[in-house]
Amino acid sequence: MSIAVRQVTKRFDSSFVAVDNVSLAIASGSLTALLGPSGSGKSTLLRIIAGLETPDEGRVSILGEDVTRIPPQKREVGFVFQHYAAFKHMTVRDNVGFGLKIRKRPKAGIRATVDDLLGLVQLDGLADRYPGQLSGGQRQRMALARALAVEPKVLLLDEPFGALDARVRKELRAWLRRLHEEVHVTTVLVTHDQEEAMDVADRVTVMNEGRIEQSGKPRDLYEHPANEFVMSFVGPVNRLGEEWIRPHDLELRLEPNGTTSEAMIQRIVHLGFEVRVELVLDDGRHVSAQVTRREVEELELLEGQIIYVRPSRTTVFA
């Protein structure tokens, strides 16, 4: 196990419990996402692994070594911040080479390593610029290169794409996955964006209010959520009483057949290939179904139309 977190608790101001008795194991070479809403404790947990916060209880080990009392300088972790934390008074080259410089590596060696890394993150040619002259996406890639330069045992990313706009975010997401395949450093990524977590990670750990709700492969979390929180956080969901239904599990028919309920189409929203159909049931409850464009055309669905719906699959939590 690359990282082992054992029964870690962290409080702030003696009353607010940010991380509540959390235990977690992260496999070597994997890319794990810590997913959860604001205040769930995921960033604090990440910072505890990095040594930027000290837990009040519990232990942290990296590669078998107990690092709980060891300061961040000595843990050999790479950390990437949401707002880049670029050394704004240094050039890109000096930023990336910083870790090597303070380890007193020879100058020629540093130069070569930095150039390699800049090539890896596709920032060649920008080595002599200052962070202030780069775009957000470029700054974040620089931050990644900087963290990787010292060959860390683990790579920790705290909402690395949070400050970037949507399109750049998606590009960098894919790019991070490719980088991980190439470099294979154990990576932990904190995010509140479930799409990002599912897209990028081998394993996802969902956190809420300082506790872990569920850990597993993205597909497992989606198809077999442990509780309502995970189900509703990891994807869109309809709730009808005790039953939880995914929008794509709602079948639409033009004729009733005894197992269907009547509903009126309130709105049809075309989101590219997928279409969301917002419905009102006869008892006034609102649900939405997700269908393909072809289905909409074949069934000739229109707003205001009465149709019949039936869940093909529901989930109930004890």
Partner: protein, 267 residues
């Protein structure tokens, strides 16, 4: 903006005009008088006054003492600002308020009390009265707040994540301070240092009691000017004043350039 009527335009111009007139009367004319008086006997007379042994000695002492004070303040001011921003202890609020005491306390009172503590009859047994050390001491007192107050807001705003990034990359606290924090504090330190220098070269009240004003020894430029005025040698006084003025401006301009150069990395 809503359309400006002719009357409102005139009113606005009037306010600016009045302000400029006030400034001209109160500030510009008197300063012009000083410059004029210094060159009254022509360039050669000016040069004679400025190079007279007494004036040279006073100016040298003033310049060296002020420079020394600035260097000390750069260090102690940053240290104090650091402790006020990054540390926490009972009574910190009071300490923070006390920093401004040299701004609020009359300079003559400052000089008197420094004399009481560090002069003859000192409770600490330390007597530096009538020495050059006394000059430096007095100047340290009156320039204390400048670097502290310049650095404090910058330190508060400093991106802590840069320091955390440095730590995660393996930098120990001292390295982080030297390579990350200090470069980002430099503009503020320089700014505070320049203000310190300006205050120090012109300081009169704090120095006049404790230094003894011994010509060629502990007489600073401002005292030299004062003595010239008292003996009716207005041209001599004006000449040395002009030198002080030029010195202040050169330092302020240099500090401005340095500050702007260090700020070029701000996104």
């Amino acid at each position: 903006m809503p359309a400006r009527t002719g009357a409102s335009r005139r009113a606005g111009g009037l306010v600016l005009g009045l302000s400029t007139a006030y400034l001209t009367l109160i500030v510009l004319i008197p300063i012009a008088a000083v410059v004029a008086a210094s060159f009254e006997g022509g360039l050669s007379a000016f040069w004679d006054e400025v190079t007279s042994p007494g004036a040279v000695a006073a100016l040298k002492l003033t310049f060296v003492a002020s420079l020394l004070v600035v260097l000390v303040n750069a260090v102690t001011g940053t240290l104090i600002a650091w402790v006020l921003v990054r540390d926490d202890f009972r009574g910190k609020g009071v300490v923070n308020a006390v920093i401004d005491l040299p701004f609020a306390l009359p300079t003559i009172v400052a000089g008197l009390t420094l004399l009481a503590v560090y002069g003859p009859g000192s409770p600490l047994g330390v007597d530096v009265a009538y020495t050059r050390a006394a000059v430096v001491l007095a100047l340290l007192f009156v320039t204390l707040p400048f670097v502290v107050r310049a650095v404090q807001p910058v330190l508060v705003e400093l991106d802590r994540e840069m320091e955390e990034a440095a730590a995660s990359l393996g930098a120990r606290p001292l390295t982080t301070f030297r390579r990350i924090i200090l470069p980002n504090l430099m503009p503020a330190v320089l700014s505070g240092a320049a203000l310190s220098f300006g205050k120090a070269v012109g300081e009169f009240g704090a120095v006049v009691l404790i230094s003894g004003n011994i010509p060629f020894d502990t007489e600073v430029a401002s005292v030299n000017i004062f003595k010239s005025i008292e003996s009716g040698e207005q041209a001599a006084a004006a000449a040395v004043s002009v030198v002080l003025l030029v010195l202040s401006f050169v330092v302020l301009a240099a500090a401005d350039v340095l500050e702007r150069r260090s700020r070029r990395h701000d996104a």
